[in-house]
Symmetry: C2
Subunit: 231 residues, 2 copies
């Protein structure tokens, strides 16, 4: 059911209604979660706030956790799309980095169409301080890492189970992304631009060392304008 894609404007009235209901559920849920806590909020409350039945909530989200990660899911999907679209000439780390940057460029408006970025930021902090959500977050992250690693391996024509480099690279990349997210969550500036720049500057620190060509063993010609690495 309900495709969560906020881009690709919905065609008919029915689709638009669904999108509205879904967005309203996310917004109501996050507002309630951040105000009174995740555990203290019941799904009945969320449904009531949007004026739908509890059963309808479960037709949009598989469980109580899901709604808390709806925006994250959106961002991740956007990132994966961009990663798939990167030219094969780019080195792995460059592709990851470019995909993140391009994704951030237009995900901001997509987020804003659902919830204020400030609410997203508060949700981020709420997740970090709720054990049940921390667990879910870790599991989701490890699943995403695995997906990215396989994707990178395929790009480079490698076997993810014998060559450790894809997983290692993705682990490093994810680690940096996680730290950037955490620093953003703790900071004051709750704009999308700020997390984008934070991400950029953190990624710059992975350095070009990992970024040579895995297929020929030689360094790649710079695919993007200027090599973006400082160290």
């Amino acid at each position: 059911m309900a495709t969560p894609m906020p881009h690709a404007a919905p065609t008919g009235l029915r689709e638009r209604k669904k999108q509205r209901t879904r967005d309203a559920l996310i917004r109501a849920a996050l507002e309630l979660f951040t105000e009174q806590g995740y555990e203290a909020t019941t799904i009945d409350e969320i449904a009531e706030a949007v004026d739908v039945s509890q059963r309808t909530y479960f037709r949009y989200f598989a469980n109580k956790e899901d709604v808390a990660f709806a925006v994250q899911t959106m961002v991740e999907a956007r990132f994966l799309d961009e990663l798939l679209a990167r030219p094969a000439t780019e080195a792995p780390l460059t592709a990851l980095r470019s995909a993140v940057m391009v994704a951030w460029d237009d995900i901001g408006s997509a987020i804003e169409s659902v919830i204020p970025v400030e609410l997203h930021m508060r949700s981020y902090r709420m997740i970090e301080s709720t054990p049940a959500l921390v667990a879910a977050h870790l599991r989701r992250s490890s699943e995403l890492e695995e997906e990215i690693a396989r994707l990178i391996a395929r790009r480079e024509g490698l076997d993810v189970d014998t060559d450790p480099r894809p997983r290692v690279l993705v682990a490093a990349f994810s680690g940096v992304m996680r730290v950037a997210g955490k620093v953003w969550g703790e900071g004051q500036d709750c704009t999308v631009a700020s997390i984008r720049e934070l991400t950029r500057s953190y990624l710059d620190h992975i350095g070009p060392a990992m970024d040579d060509d895995w297929r020929t063993g030689r360094e790649r010609p710079a695919a993007t304008s200027a090599t973006p690495y400082s160290l």
Copy 2:
């Protein structure tokens, strides 16, 4: 018959009964989980198998997940005890390594007093293939890592929030432990001795590079008999 807690034999009849009930619950739960699956098993079934009320189950375990990790918890507690007991002269990685080895030396019998090691091994695989338990496992692991990192930092007189080395070392150590556990779970040899040796050989590969003295900046004199590192 029941040698209850890993250490500290119970004094009275009451304590022994409690220990028996607890062990029986763990055993029944793991047997049911591994036979018919985690989700498909209800707590009523577990309680019935041990002939206690469901309410009593919840007086021993906080939730359904907890019982699945009871043995792990035992092993971890044993490890932390040993780590605390390591002399301050040992370098961090050496202390971690020694604590693991000493812990494995006598944890085997403690495990066997609760469940057959073979059941523990099946449980391990069951956890890995159950999303809800994977999430719980990841959260538990990250909490344990944090605890170990703080412990190591205190040992070395460092601030865990400014000096990245404790967390980095523990991350590497935990990663190796996780892989060792995974390989053991996939293998045939379900003895405690086998995971002990697996752990030893994997830890040997971290190498002495990380193992110099963090306080003086010089290499430590070998605290143990022979330097155990092969690479």
